[in-house]
């Protein structure tokens, strides 16, 4: 349970930025 909480919290902290990077790359590729 503890690991699950740490994993979830870590994702909540880090993944939005990662997803944003990929989303921006996708949009830029579409734009091009």
């Amino acid at each position: 349970f503890d690991e699950l909480i740490v994993e979830t919290a870590t994702r909540r902290k880090q993944w939005p930025k990662k997803i944003l990077v990929h989303a921006i790359q996708t949009m830029k590729a579409e734009q091009e």
Binding site: R11, R12, W15, P16, K17, I19, L20, A23, I24
Partner: protein
């Protein structure tokens, strides 16, 4: 600050623990040994307490280093300080990643929107100018065609004259 509270709370814990495990209590528990060796009992007790305190303090320091607690405490103090004017509860993860990640996208989308709006405005302005020169070009071509038509008619009129003349000669 959090670091001070943390240190104070741990020190208090230690003090109270030592107070609970008083020498009197120790002697009461080890009565048989105390009767034989009262001095030794005292020094064993003193060493026990100082070693226990030292170990616990060392452990706390280790936990602080491992978790970088000092740094985290001070940055959390700052974050809390910045939010001191807020009353209402702040946002918390909803538990639905799709919902939460959307807001992370919004600043970029807004930036992208203003970029597209600017590009579109520039492009429209540019095209307006090009459209103007196209219209001017069309007018120019119409005018040239009119000119040519006028010259053509003039020549056709001459042509008519010419035919009349030839008729005359033929007669």
């Amino acid at each position: 600050s959090r670091a001070q509270v943390f240190a104070t709370v741990v020190d208090t814990f230690l003090e109270k623990l030592v107070a609970a495990g008083s020498y009197q209590r120790f002697v009461n528990s080890y009565r048989c040994f105390y009767k034989l060796q009262p001095q030794l009992t005292r020094s064993i007790y003193d060493q026990f307490i100082s070693q226990l305190q030292a170990s616990i303090k060392e452990e706390i320091q280790e936990v602080k280093n491992e978790g970088n607690l000092e740094g985290l405490f001070s940055s959390l103090d700052k974050i809390v300080e910045e939010a001191k004017d807020r009353e209402e509860p702040a946002w918390r993860p909803s538990g639905i990643p799709e919902d939460d990640v959307r807001s992370a996208m919004v600043p970029y989308l807004l930036k992208h929107r203003s970029h597209l709006r600017r590009v579109l405005r520039e492009k429209e302005e540019q095209n307006r100018k090009v459209a103007e020169s196209v219209l001017m070009g069309r007018d120019r071509i119409a005018e040239l065609e009119r000119l040519i038509q006028a010259r053509q008619q003039a020549w056709q009129a001459i042509n008519k004259e010419q035919r009349e003349l030839i008729m005359t000669f033929q007669e």
